[in-house]
Symmetry: D2
C-alpha cells in the first residue's frame, strides 16, 4: 500500500477552516458499515430514505431533502428552485455567495445578486426595503429571494428575533427565504434551539444544510420546507450535475450525524472551543476583535509584523489583507492545547515586538 | 451506533450497474489512511499534487488533472472548456450525454448537442461530415467538439483505428476531441493498451476519466491533455460547483487506484467476468445479442414473459422497453457464481416457458 | 442626400424569401404617420395600447401581446415563458428552431430541444408519445412544450384536425403549446379561418406572430393566450434584450396590418401567387415536388446542371444541397410576371439540357 | 387609413428621454429611399456593406461593425464577446448595465457584474485596483472587462485623459475595454474630437454605438476594434436573437447618420440645447445641480412640492425619488422655446411656493 503516512509529516496546528479537518471517526465508521454489496444508485436506496426521514424529524414532517456533494452546489441549486433568471437574489455584502463562488450563483440561476449592507456580518433591516421600490418596473431585476447566511461569514449568529424581522419584511414584499446553513448546527447550539426553530417555524423556504464543515467527509443537504421549492428539485439537482450515484455514502454519514445527537456534540465542541479561544485572546489588551464570537470562528486584527511569524507555526487565514483581520476557526478535532499553543506564541511575538 | 446492518437484508444479486457496487476495499483503506489531522482544502494539499502526478505518468507529462465529484460534472465541465455557447457538440445518438443527463450539457454549455448515427453504439464515419456543410453559416450552430464515449453505452469499444479515423475527420474540420471515459479502464484492458495510447497519442483534448464506476466511493477526473483546454479549468470547475473542499479524499482514492496497477486488476476482473457471462449466455440458442461484449456489459434481448420473474431474483435494467433488450453489468465485485446463478435461473425460466 | 438609388441596380427577380422584400407601402405610411413629437418609450405609448387591443380582436379578449424586434426573439422568449431549463421542447426535425437559430433556443432557455419525425414538414402523431415514456425519470429532460410551425418550413399547413390531434396528445401528457407563426396569416388564408380558430380555440398557450415576413419593416408579436404564459413576459422580454424603446413604430405597423384586413390581402396575394407558381411548374412533367404548396413557398427539385444558370437570373435558395430541392417563395410584392419569367427561363434551360 | 392623428393630441413638451423623440426626418427619408424591391437579408445586402465601410471611416480601417436592434443588445452581445462566464465585468455603480437591464448582462454572459464607485457618474481610478487583488484565486470571479459609459448616466463626459488613466490601469491588469456609447456622439461633440480619438486610439476593444437615442427609428451598432472581439461576433449576434432580417433598414439610417456629418449636427443641437437649459436654470439661485452638464442631460434637484405640478405640464423623470433629483433631457428636436416654457413655469411655481 502507498505510504500515505508520508503526507502527514510536519503538519502545523491549523485554524484554517472546518473543511481542513478530516472526517469524524463516526462518519468513517458509517462509511465502512455501509460498504457492502450492491445498493440502488442515484438516491433510491433504503439508507437514503432513512436519512431523508431523519431530516424530517429535525425540520418537520413536510421537509423534503436532497443530498448533494458540496456547499456551493447546495446553495446554487436551492437558488435555482427559488428564483427565475429575471429575478434577483438579496444577499449580504459579506456573503460567500458574492465573494467566493467564482460567479456560480449568476451562472446557475442567470439571475442577479444584489448586496445588502451589514453590521457584524448580518444584514440590517433599515435599508432592506430600498430594493423593493422598483417592484413591477420591467427594467429592474425583480427581488425574489432573501438569502441569509447563518451563522454569518463573520462568525456571528442572527437571533430568532432578528430573523423574524428580516423574514417578515422580505415576505411582505413577496420574497422567498433561503438559508445558507453550511454551519447551521453551530448557530443552533449557540442559540440553544433546534433546526426547525431556526427555519421551518420562521417560514424559511429552503435550507442549504452543511455536512462537510461539520465532520462529514463530503456531502450536503438541500432541505426544502415548502412543496413549491421541492417540486422540480430532483431534476434541478440532476441537471446541475449533483446527483451522487453511490448516494448511500452521503446518506450514511448524515444518519450518523443525527444519531445520538452527534451533530450537537460536534457543534458544541467547536463553539465552546471558539469561545475559549476568544476568552484567551481577550486577555491580550492590544488586540481588537472584528465581530462577536458566536459560532466557531474568532476574527481578530493582528499586527502585520507578527502575522508571518505566526503563520510559520500555525495555519490560519488573513481575512482582510488591508486591516490584517485574521480568521481563527475551530472544528470537531480542535484541541484546547492547540489554542493554548497559539496564544502562547502570539503573546511571545507581541512581547518581542514591543521589547 | 446505528444498525446499518439492517439495510443489508435480502440483497439480490445485482447486474444493475457498476455504480451499484460499493467502494473497493483498497479505496476504503486509502480513505482511512488519509483521514488524519488537517489538510489544505480545495485541491491544494500534497495528496492531490501526488495524484495529479500519477495521472501524468499515464497520460503524459503535460496532462493537467482536475478532480470533481461525479461523471456528469466531468463531462459537462470538459465541454464548457471546449465549446462556446454558439458552437455545437457532436455526440452519438446513444450517448448518455443526450439521454441521461436531464439536459445538463445544454444547461452548462449553452451549446447545442447534435446527434450522430451509430452502429453497435459507435459513431460511424460515413455521415460525420454532414455536420460540417454549414461551416461559416451564421444561422447554424458551429460544430466544435466531437465527444466519444469509450467504451460506448452499448459496451462496445472503439479500436485504435476507428478512433484514428473519427478523430482525423473531426480535426480536419476544426473540432476538438472529448472522451467520455467513465469506464475508460475497461476499454484499455480490452484493447491491451495504456491510457495515453487511447487518448494523448491520438490528439484527444480532454478526457472525463471515471472513478466511481471503477471502484471508487466517489470522484472523477478531468484530464486536460492540451494547455488550451486546461487554461480556465480551475475557474470552470469552481463556478460549476465541483471543487471538492476535502479534496484529499478523492485524491487518495485515485492514488490507490493507480498503485500496483489496481486499475488494471479491477478492469480486467470486470471485463473477464462480462466475457464469461456472454459465453454462458451464448450457449442458449434462442437469445439474441444487441452488440458485441467488449467491456463490462452484456446486452441481450430476453423474452418479455420471463423478465419480471428474473427481476424478482436478480437486479438488472431493461435497456429498451420496446425490444426488451436487457443490460447486464459486471463490476469489481461480481462473482462467477453470481453469473452462474443467473444463467441457471434464466435457463429454467426459458424451459418452463417452452414446456 | 446619399444616392440610395445606386444600390438598386441590377436587381434580380427574387424568390429568396419573404424577408427579402421591403416594407409594404401601407407600413411605410404608418411609420411616417406616427413620426411626430415625443411618445413614451418602452411600450407605454397609446399606439401600443391600441395595437395590443387589435390583437385581442383577433385572438380573444384575454390575449396579451408583447412586441419584439424579430422572429428568433419571438420564438425564444415564448419558449422561456413556457419551459424551465430542466425541461425539453418538442419541435419538428425540419424546424427552424433546430436548424437555423445558431442554438438560440438552447441558449435562451437552457432547455433541451427534442426532434419529432415529420411528413411533409408536419409532425406526425404516431411517434409523439415516445417522448413521454420517461415522464418522472430524474435523468431525463422532461418534455414540457410542443412547438408547432404553422405553416411549416416546407410550406405545408396543419389542418385544424391535425392540430387538434397533436395538441390533444400533447395536453394529455402535460405539455404546453407554442406556435411558431412567422407566416401564420398565410395558414389562416389557406384554411379560410381566423387567427383564433388556429390558436385560442385549440388551447394554444403562446403564439410567435410574424410581422417582418408579412410586409412589416421589422417587428413581431408574442401573443400570450393564457395568464400563466403572460405572467413574467414583460421581464423576460426586457432581459432578453427585446424591449423596443421607440415601440410606437412597431405598433403602428401592426395597426396598419390589421386595418381593413390588410393582413388578409397580403397573405392572399402571397398564397395565390404560390399556387399559380405551382400550377405553372406542374406543367413541366419532369419536375418533382417535395411537398404540397399550401402557403407561400414552392419546394421543387431542379436538375443540378441548370440550377447555377437559373440563379444567374433569379434569386432563390437551394434548400437541400444533396437533392437539389429548391425553395421558391412569394411575398406581398411578387408579380405574376416574375413567375412567368422564371418558368419560361426554366423551360428553356430544361429544353437545352435535353436537346 | 387609420387615424394616427388621434394619438397626437395633448402632447406635453417632453424632456423625458432622447428615445421619446421620433425618427429624424433624414432617417425617415433614408428608410423610404431604400424601400424598393428585394434585398438579400441578414446583413448580406450592399447597403449594409456600405454602412460598415462608413464606420471604418470613423473608427479606423480595422473596425468591424455588426448592426443590432437596440442598446441593451449592443451592450450584452459586446460583453458576450469579451467575457467568459467565470469572469467578471467592472461597471460603474450608476451604470445602466446594473440598474436598468433587468439582469440582461448576467443572463447573456453568465458572468458577474462588479460595481465601481463613481464621482459625477464617472468611475474613479483610486479604488479600481481593489478588484484585482484576487487575480488567480479560483474562488473569485476573474475581472476581464471594464465597461465605461460615455457620456455617463449622469450626463458627464470622461475626458481623454481620464479615459487614458482608467484604460491604462485596466490593461495593466489584463482587462478588455467596452464602451457603452448609446450617446457617444454627444461626448465627441462635447470634447471636440472624433470617434476614433475616443475609442480606437485609446485601445478600446468594443463599442456599443447608439443609434436610437440619436435620431434613428431603431438600430444600434456593435463596433469591434480588435480582431479577437469580432471573431465570433456574427454567431453571437444570431444566437442572441439580434440579427435583423431586413438589415438594409438599419444600414440606411446609419448611412444617413454619417452623411454630411448629420451625426454631429444632431449631437451639437442636443448638447447646445442642454447647455442653454443649464444656463437658464443656473439663474435660479435656489436650485442645486447633481452633476456638470456635459452632454444632453441636466440633472437638478427640484423641490418635491412643485414636481407634481411641473409634471402636469411637462414630461420628465424624477431620477432619484429620495432627493428629488430630476433628469431633463434634450434631443434632436428639442426647441429653445420648450426650454423657455419650462423655465418660466418653474420660476412661477417656485415663486408661488415661496410667496
Amino acid at each position: 500500500m502507498i505510504s500515505f503516512e508520508s503526507f502527514k509529516e510536519n503538519h502545523k496546528i491549523c485554524f484554517g477552516s472546518d473543511n481542513h479537518s478530516g472526517a469524524h471517526p463516526k462518519m468513517m465508521k458509517a462509511l465502512e458499515a455501509v460498504n457492502y454489496g450492491h445498493a440502488p444508485s442515484y438516491g433510491t436506496d433504503p439508507l437514503t430514505k432513512a436519512a431523508e426521514d431523519e431530516f424530517r424529524k429535525h425540520f418537520g414532517s413536510h421537509a423534503q431533502t436532497f443530498f448533494v456533494f458540496n456547499g456551493t452546489a447546495a446553495n446554487v441549486i436551492s437558488l435555482r428552485a427559488l428564483a427565475a433568471p429575471y429575478q434577483s437574489i438579496l444577499a449580504s455584502d459579506q456573503s460567500h455567495l458574492h465573494w467566493d463562488e467564482c460567479g456560480a450563483p449568476e451562472f446557475f440561476t442567470g439571475a442577479k445578486l444584489l448586496l445588502c449592507p451589514t453590521q457584524n456580518g448580518k444584514i440590517t433591516t433599515d435599508k432592506l426595503t430600498d430594493h423593493f421600490v422598483r417592484r413591477g418596473d420591467q427594467h429592474y431585476s425583480q427581488p425574489r429571494v432573501l438569502s441569509l447566511t447563518q451563522p454569518t461569514e463573520l462568525g456571528t449568529v442572527y437571533s430568532i428575533d432578528e430573523l423574524k424581522s428580516l423574514i417578515s419584511i422580505a415576505k411582505e414584499h413577496g420574497l422567498l427565504i433561503h438559508i445558507d446553513g453550511a454551519r447551521l448546527a453551530n448557530a443552533a447550539v449557540h442559540l440553544g434551539v433546534g433546526f426547525a426553530d431556526l427555519t421551518t417555524q420562521l417560514g424559511v423556504d429552503v435550507v442549504s444544510f452543511g455536512g462537510t464543515k461539520n465532520g462529514l467527509m463530503f456531502g450536503e443537504a438541500i432541505v426544502c420546507l415548502t412543496p413549491a421549492s421541492a417540486h422540480a428539485m430532483k431534476y434541478l439537482r440532476k441537471q446541475s450535475a449533483q446527483l451522487p450515484s453511490k448516494t448511500r455514502f452521503v446518506s450514511a454519514q448524515f444518519l450518523a450525524y443525527f444519531q445520538n445527537d452527534l451533530w450537537s456534540e460536534i457543534a458544541s465542541h467547536s463553539v465552546t472551543l471558539a469561545r475559549y479561544f476568544r476568552k484567551q485572546l481577550e486577555q491580550i489588551p492590544s488586540l481588537h476583535f472584528v465581530a462577536p464570537t458566536e459560532s466557531n470562528g474568532v476574527f481578530v486584527k493582528l499586527p502585520q509584523s507578527i502575522v508571518k511569524k505566526l503563520k510559520d507555526k500555525f495555519f490560519f487565514y488573513v481575512w482582510d489583507e488591508k486591516t490584517f483581520s485574521c480568521r481563527l476557526m475551530t472544528t470537531w478535532d480542535t484541541q484546547q492545547s492547540d489554542i493554548d499553543a497559539f496564544v502562547t506564541e502570539l503573546k511571545s511575538l507581541l512581547q518581542n515586538k514591543e521589547g
